[in-house]
């Protein structure tokens, strides 16, 4: 379960960390997503959104690493 989709934060409203709402863009479709669980999120970050709540900020470095690991694994064999 847990359909959580990565989207880019386009703008953030609200200063109280618990009430912050981000307008998040998913390939051209935008939705208001609560950022109360990702206080470190900034405009331009990608977050994983599930049922209206951002669960984490996507770690771009780790994302690259995952793809790199695969390339290593297959080249090294």
């Amino acid at each position: 379960m847990c359909l959580a989709v990565p989207g880019r934060i386009v703008s953030i409203e609200g200063s109280d960390p618990l009430l912050r709402i981000g307008t998040v863009d998913f390939g051209g479709t935008r939705k208001q997503i609560s950022l109360s669980c990702v206080p470190e999120a900034r405009e331009g970050d990608y977050v994983l959104a599930h049922a209206g709540l951002a669960l984490n900020v996507v770690d771009e470095a780790e994302a690259e690493k995952t793809l790199d690991l695969l390339r290593e694994a297959t080249e090294g064999e």
Binding site: M1, V5, F26, G27, G28, T29
Partner: protein, 350 residues
């Protein structure tokens, strides 16, 4: 709502009443006022003289094609269309899918007591605009009113008459193994546009409904001499449903490649977000055409010359078996059998 506003010219006066009353459906004075004051100004008077119970048509020679459809949609107005333009284009397209040039439409309205007259006028104006764009006339109709709470504002049933070349044979029975499957454009716009406007699922989207008449694309192919075996417009069940139906009707295998099916990024994004499959998402201005294998290139070129099918692409082919099934060739080499959904696709979190 914006589009309908732009082309709406307020006939003066629409009506003395700001809302639809039971009496407007009673067949008496108020009904006549509605017809003369709202519908006729929008649709035009069908011929000279007083209005009759029915319209007499002068049709060109050929095979008469007849169709009907009922339209219920909420919200009534959505990005790229409304119940009015849907009601005209849906029926026009059913005629076009039979290879018929649409001529005349009837429009029967079931209105909910209390419906704002402005909403009805806007709907009629939208229908008139759609009819003009499709080259048809709304020549007869009816109005009934139901009690408040017994209808979603407006229900419209349109029936349509068109004329086709008597020599044309188009339908699932004409589909042959080896035929090319061509799609007239990207999928999923209507479903997403409507969902974006629904309470509880609201999201901002650039996606507009693809509601449009398909007469020009169909005749661009026919006039170019393309050997068309089957036409079918995509509606509520999406591309997958149409392919399953045609495969069953033809007793053959319809196979499409997943990566060949065009989907815009905005529709994809919305589908990802809601857990929907674009293949099963609604369309109102797209169709598939099955043509003889040698005619595929010509068909795509003919389609691309029309704005309504500028994004046409070949998406697959017809094979002998497994008979009666539709198959999706997956990206990773695994095929998937397409099935009909038992109901409407629902957004999921799971």
């Amino acid at each position: 709502m914006g589009d309908a506003n732009n082309c709406f010219h307020c006939p003066v006066p629409i009506s003395r009443y700001a809302e639809v009353l039971m009496a407007h459906g009673g067949g008496g004075k108020l009904t006549r006022d509605l017809v003369e004051g709202l519908f006729i100004p929008a649709f035009g008077r069908p011929g000279a003289g007083p209005l009759h119970d029915g319209a007499r048509l002068d049709l060109p020679a050929g095979r008469i094609v007849f169709t009907t459809d009922a339209y219920v949609v909420l919200p009534l107005f959505f990005p790229g269309g409304d119940i009015g333009s849907l009601a005209v284009n849906g029926t026009v397209n059913d005629l076009a899918m039979c290879g018929a040039r649409p001529s005349s439409l009837s429009a029967a309205f079931i209105l909910e007591e209390g419906l704002p007259m402005k909403t009805l006028a806007r709907t009629a104006a939208s229908m008139a605009e759609a009819a003009r764009a499709a080259g048809v006339a709304v020549v007869t109709g009816d109005t009934k009113v139901v009690d408040r709470g017994k209808g979603d504002g407006i229900f419209i049933t349109t029936s349509g008459v068109g004329v086709a070349d008597p020599g044309l044979r188009i339908g699932p029975a004409e589909v042959c193994a080896g035929d090319a499957v061509i799609l007239s454009g990207d999928i999923g716009r209507h479903g997403i546009a409507v969902m974006a406007s629904r309470e509880g699922l609201a999201f901002e989207s650039e996606v507009q409904s693809d509601c449009a008449p398909l007469v020009d694309p169909v005749f661009a192919m026919l006039d170019a001499g393309v050997e068309v075996h089957c036409l079918r417009d995509l509606t509520r069940g999406g591309l997958a449903t149409v392919l399953v139906e045609i495969a069953a009707g033809a007793g053959l295998n319809v196979r499409i490649e997943e990566d060949a099916v065009p989907v815009t990024p905005a529709v994809r994004g919305a589908c990802e977000l809601l857990g929907l499959d674009p293949l099963y998402t609604a369309n109102e201005g797209r169709f598939v055409v099955f043509v003889a294998p040698g005619a595929a290139e010509q068909a795509v070129q003919a389609l691309r010359s029309c704005p309504a099918s500028a994004g046409a692409a070949r998406v697959g082919e017809v094979l002998a078996g497994p008979a009666g099934t539709a198959t999706l060739g997956g990206r990773f080499g695994a095929d998937r059998i397409l099935d009909m959904l038992s109901g409407e696709q629902l957004p999921r979190i799971c």
